[in-house]
Amino acid sequence: MEDLIQFAENFFRNLKTEVRREGNILLVSKVPESFEKFYGKKSPYELNFSQEPNKEYPNSEIISKNNFLISVMREFLENKGQTTLLKIDFEEGSRDFINKHFLFKNAKIDSINKLEKNRAIIRFTFQTTFQYLNEREQITTPIYASDGKLINFRLEDYKTSEGKKDTLNLGDIKKEYEIAKEKAKELIKPTIERVGTMLDKKLEKELVRINHHFSSQKQEFEQKMKELENQKRELLNIQNPNENVKQKITKIESLLTDLRGSEVLTRLNKEQEFFLKDETHKHSLGVSSKLINTTIILSSIWKLSCFLRNSNSTRILELEYDPLLKTVSKITCDCCKKEINKVGLCSSGHLSCESCLRGCSDCQKDYCLLCLNHSCFSCGKKLCRKCAKRCSKCHKEKCSTHISGSICETCREKTKTYF
C-alpha cells in the first residue's frame, strides 16, 4: 500500500500538479489537461489508499493496485521515459586521488588546473515478454556499452543526476545497439529453455490424451470390422445355408463395403492431425523483446595540469584523471622511462624514479641521472651541472674539493714543482 501511495504521489508530482498527502489520503489538484483527458475525469482527485472509507473525506475514491486510475497511469507512462540522459556525480577529489596514488618524494602538488571532458556509457534496457498459455513472464535486461564494446557496469552503484544536453557529444550508437541486442538475445536463452521444457511436459500430456483417444477410436473401428468378418466367415461355413442365412451374409457384406468406403480411418487421421496441431499451437511460446529505454550516462574525465613544486624547481604534470574507473594517467621516470608511483622531482625539473634520483655530491640537491652526468676527474664524484667546475688548465671537470679558483688541485701541484 505504501508502495502504491508513493508511486501515485511521485507520479502526480512529476506531472507538476499540486499534491498533498494526509495519511493515506492523497489530494491532487491542478492536474494538467493532458492527463485529465487521458483519464477522462477532471481534477481535483481525492484518493484513498487504505481499504476503508475515510470519514474526513467521505467522497474519496478507494484506490487499490487494480484500480482503474492505476491502470490509466500505467498506460500514460507506457511510451514515456524511453530516453534518458544522466550524469554520474563524483565528488571532486582529484588532488586526494593523486596524492594517494603517487608518492611524491621531494615535492608537493602546489595547484591543479582542471579541464572537464565527458565519456558516454550507453545503457540499453530490453524488456522481454514470455507468453505461454495464460501466463506471462517479463524480464528486463540492462546492457551497457561504451566505445563500441560491451562493458561491465552497474548504474545503481553511482550517484547520478540529470545530464545536460549541451555537454553531450555522441556519434552514431547503432553499433552499440546491435551488439547489445545480440547480448540480450543470448541472455534470454536460458529462460526460453526453462519455459520450453516446462511447456513440453504439459503439451506431452495433452498429446497423449489425443493420441490415446484416436487410437482407441481406430481400434474400435477395426474391431468392428473384424467382428463382421468373423460373423461372415461363420455364416459361410454353414452347410446348405437357408434364405435367412444368405440374407444375413449379403447384409454383412454390404455393411463391410460401406464401412471400407466410408474412409473412417482417413477421417480419423485427419481429425487427429487437426487436434494435435491445435494443441501444439495452444502450447506455443511467444517471446517478444523490445528496447524500452536507452540511457546515456555521462561520466567526467578530468584533464589536469598539476603544479609539482619544491624549493628548487617546478614541473607541470599533465594528467588525465578518470573518477569512474579510478584511474589516472601514468608517470614515467624521465631517465629510465619506467612507470613510477614514487615520484621524485629533479632540481632541473625532471621526473625521476627513486633509483634515478641522486644527490649532487657538492650542493646536495636532488638531481636525476640525466642531470648528474658530470663527475670529478680526480675523485669520480657525481656532480650537477652547476657544481662541476672545469679547470682552465687541464680542462677537466672537478668537484669543489679538487678545484679552487679556476685551476684544479692537480694543475696547481704541477705548477709548484716547476718553480
Binding site: D3, F7, S71, K80, T84, E220, F275, S289
Partner: protein
C-alpha cells in the same frame, strides 16, 4: 516440440530520439519501472481488468469475477461454463475476454451466439466491457475482423452441392479465444452446427450453457467431446463406463463422472452466490364493462373477425391488418377511437368496412364511462394507500394510450414521467433519474424502456398486455433484477368475458409468474420450438394466439380452448425442464464445494 515464436521489435525510432537529443526526465523512467513492478503478476492471480469493468456494471457479483479467474488460471481458458440460469454467464465470459485482452494474451476472438442474442452481445460488450466486436455478415468479413461475433445459425450453413461450409474462412484462422453461447443447442454431434464449431482452430474455448444436458447424458458427452477431445474417452468407452441403459439421465459411476467434469467445468448454483431473487406476485385485475362498452367492444371484434373479410375487395392482406390493429383497439378506448377513425377515413379500406368502422366509432364516442381506466385509477389509489412512498411502472403498447393514462392520472397530484421510444440517451438518463429520485410513476411503452433497470420499483401495471410472453418477460425484467429488494406486484388489467381474460391468464399465470427466474422462459420456449420469430415478425406464441383468434370467429369458448392447448404445452415444457434441471443439478453439483460466497445483496 514446442513452437517458439521469437520476435524483436524495431527500435529505430527510439534510437532516433537519441540522435536528436530528445530526452525525458529520469523520473519518468523510474515511474514506469515502478508501476510495472507494482502491477505485474505473471500468473493470473487477479482479474486486473475488473477495475475497468466494475464502473460499467451495476452490481458486483463476486462469483462472476471468481469464475473468470478460475477459467483463466485453473482451466487454461478452456471450460464449460454451466452456471445456473440468472447468474450472468455473459458477464463472466465477458470478464474472461476483457482480461485476456488487457493482459495481451489474445490477438483475436470469436463469439458464436444464437441469432436472437447477437445484438445483445454486441451492446453488452460495448457498454460493459468497452469492446468493439464486429458482426460477421458475409464470408468476406472474416479476413478483416479480429474481434468477431456471429450468429451460429447464419455461419453454419453449407453449400448444398459441395457440402462445404460457406464460412469456411472461420476454419482457416487460429482463434485465440472462441466462445459459444447458449451451447445447449450444440448437444447433437450430427449437426452442421456442431461440426462447424468443431472445425474451428482455437487456443481457448469457452462453452456457455445452463443445462449441459436435457434428456440424455450423451448430450453432455457431445458437448465435452467438442470442448476437449478424448476427455471422456470414445463414445463407446463413455457408454460402457457411464451410461445407464435403464435411465438415460442417471450415470453409472457418477462420482467418477463428476470428477472428470470438474476438470473442465464451472457450475454454480444460485444459493452459492449472493444473487437473491424476489417473488413475482401476479395480480390480475378484472375489468367489468358496462353493457354499452361491451357492445362497442364486441362489434369491434366483429369488424375484425367477420365483416372485415367480407367487405374487403382488394388484395390487402387481411391477417396483416388484424395483426397490426387488434392490439391497438384492445389497448384503450382512446386508441380504439384513433384506430377506428383511421379506418373510417382510410382510403385504402373498402367502402363497407369504412362505413362499419364509422358506426362503431359512433358507439365509442357515445360511451359515458371507461371502466378500464377507472380500474387503473383504483389500482393506483390502492397502491398509494398501502404505501405512500411506492413507485409504479405502468406499461402500455401504444403512445396514444400512454397519453390517455397521463391525462387521466394528472389530476391526482402525482409526479409522472413519460417514457417513449425515440428519446435520445441524455433525455433517457434524465428521466430515469427523475423516476428514481423524485417521481411517483413512470409510464412507458415497450420500446421505450428496453434494457433499462428499475430495480428500485416493485409495482408494475400492464395496462394492456403484449401477446408475446417474451415481451411481458422483458417488462417484468425491468424490475426483476439483481438489487430488487421487495417482492414485485405484477398487476395486469383484463377485460372480463373477452379473449383478453384468457390471454392474460395464460401469459401471466402460466408463464411469467410461476416462480421461474429471468432466463428460464426462453429456454423452455426453445425446447418447445416456440422461440424465434414467425414470418410476420411476431413471436410464435403471438402468432398462434392470433390465428386462434381469427379461427375462433368471435366464439369465446373456441378461443379459450385454443388457449388451453397452449397452456398445456407450456405446462409440459416446464415440467420437462424442471425434471432435467433437477438431474443436471444432481450430476453437476460440485463434490468439493469450494469458495462459497458469503453475505447477500438484500
Amino acid at each position: 516440440m514446442v513452437i517458439i515464436n521469437e520476435s524483436f521489435s524495431d527500435d529505430l525510432e527510439l534510437l532516433e530520439k537519441i540522435e536528436h537529443k530528445e530526452f525525458e526526465s529520469r523520473e519518468m523512467l523510474d515511474l514506469k519501472v515502478n508501476v510495472e513492478e507494482l502491477i505485474n503478476d505473471s500468473k493470473i492471480n487477479e482479474i486486473i481488468s475488473y477495475a475497468k469493468i466494475k464502473k460499467n456494471i451495476e452490481f458486483e457479483l463476486p462469483h462472476q469475477k471468481d469464475g473468470a479467474l478460475k477459467i483463466l488460471r485453473d482451466l487454461n481458458g478452456t471450460a464449460l461454463l454451466a452456471d445456473e440460469v440468472g447468474l450472468g454467464k455473459t458477464i463472466t465470459a465477458g470478464i474472461v475476454l476483457k482480461e485476456c485482452i488487457e493482459r495481451n494474451l489474445i490477438k483475436n476472438a470469436l463469439i458464436l451466439t444464437p441469432p436472437s442474442l447477437v445484438d445483445q452481445w454486441v451492446a453488452e460488450l460495448k457498454t460493459k466491457f468497452e469492446l468493439d466486436f464486429k458482426i460477421i455478415e458475409n464470408e468476406e468479413d472474416w479476413s478483416s475482423t479480429k474481434f468477431a461475433i456471429a450468429s451460429i445459425d447464419r455461419v453454419k450453413n453449407q453449400n448444398r452441392e459441395t457440402k462445404q461450409f460457406k464460412h469456411k474462412k472461420a476454419h482457416e484462422i487460429t482463434w485465440d479465444l472462441l466462445m459459444v453461447d447458449e451451447a445447449h443447442k450444440l448437444k447433437d454431434r450430427a449437426t452442421t452446427r456442431w461440426e462447424f464449431v468443431d472445425k474451428i482452430p482455437k487456443k481457448r474455448f469457452l462453452i456457455l450453457t445452463a443445462t449441459p444436458f436435457q434428456n440424455d447424458l450423451l448430450e453432455l458427452y457431445n458437448l465435452l467431446h467438442l470442448l476437449k477431445r478424448g476427455h471422456l474417452g470414445t463414445i463407446k468407452e463413455f457408454k460402457k463406463r457411464f451410461l445407464n441403459r435403464g435411465n438415460k439421465r442417471h450415470p453409472l459411476n457418477p462420482r467418477e463422472l463428476k470428477t472428470k467434469l470438474d476438470e473442465v467445468m464451472i457450475r454454480r448454483r444460485r444459493d452459492e452466490t449472493i444473487v437473491k431473487y424476489m417473488k413475482r406476485i401476479p395480480k390480475i385485475v378484472a375489468v367489468e364493462l358496462t353493457p354499452e362498452e361491451k357492445e362497442a367492444y364486441d362489434s369491434m371484434c366483429d369488424l375484425l373477425k367477420t365483416k372485415y373479410f367480407k367487405a374487403n375487395g382488394n388484395e390487402m392482406n387481411g391477417r396483416l391488418i388484424i395483426f397490426a390493429i387488434l392490439p391497438k383497439i384492445t389497448s384503450s378506448s382512446r386508441s380504439a377511437i384513433e384506430s377506428l377513425t383511421n379506418i373510417a377515413n382510410g382510403e385504402k379500406y373498402h367502402g363497407k368496412t369504412r362505413a362499419l368502422a364509422a358506426k362503431i366509432l359512433e358507439k365509442y364516442k357515445n360511451l359515458k364511462v371507461d371502466s378500464k381506466i377507472n380500474k387503473l385509477v383504483e389500482i393506483v389509489k390502492e397502491i398509494y394507500t398501502r404505501d405512500k412512498d411506492s413507485k409504479i411502472l405502468i406499461y402500455t403498447r401504444h403512445p396514444t394510450t400512454l397519453r390517455y393514462i397521463v391525462d387521466t392520472l394528472k389530476p391526482f397530484n402525482l409526479k409522472i414521467v413519460e417514457f417513449l421510444g425515440g428519446l435520445d440517451r441524455e433525455e433517457k438518463t434524465k428521466r430515469i433519474s427523475e423516476f428514481k429520485e423524485s417521481a411517483d410513476i413512470l409510464i412507458s411503452t415497450d420500446t421505450g424502456a428496453e434494457g433499462l433497470n428499475f430495480q428500485f420499483c416493485n409495482n408494475l401495471i400492464n395496462y394492456d398486455l403484449p401477446w408475446n410472453p417474451m415481451s411481458v418477460e422483458q417488462r417484468i425484467g425491468r424490475l426483476d433484477r439483481i438489487g430488487q429488494k421487495k417482492d414485485m406486484n405484477i398487476y395486469s388489467l383484463a377485460t372480463k368475458d373477452t379473449m383478453e381474460e384468457h390471454v392474460v391468464d395464460l401469459i401471466i399465470n402460466k408463464m411469467c409468474c410461476i416462480g421461474m427466474v429471468i432466463g428460464e422462459l426462453p429456454i423452455i420456449l426453445f425446447n418447445l420450438g416456440l422461440d424465434g420469430k414467425s414470418k410476420l415478425g411476431t413471436s410464435k406464441i403471438e402468432e398462434i394466439l392470433m390465428n386462434n383468434f381469427i379461427n375462433s370467429k368471435n366464439n369465446l369458448n373456441k378461443f379459450a380452448r385454443g388457449v388451453d392447448k397452449i397452456a398445456k404445452m407450456i405446462e409440459e415444457g416446464i415440467a420437462e425442464y424442471n425434471d432435467s434441471k433437477i438431474e443436471n443439478e444432481e450430476l453437476l453439483k460440485n463434490i468439493n464445494q469450494t469458495s462459497k460466497s458469503q453475505g447477500g445483496i438484500n
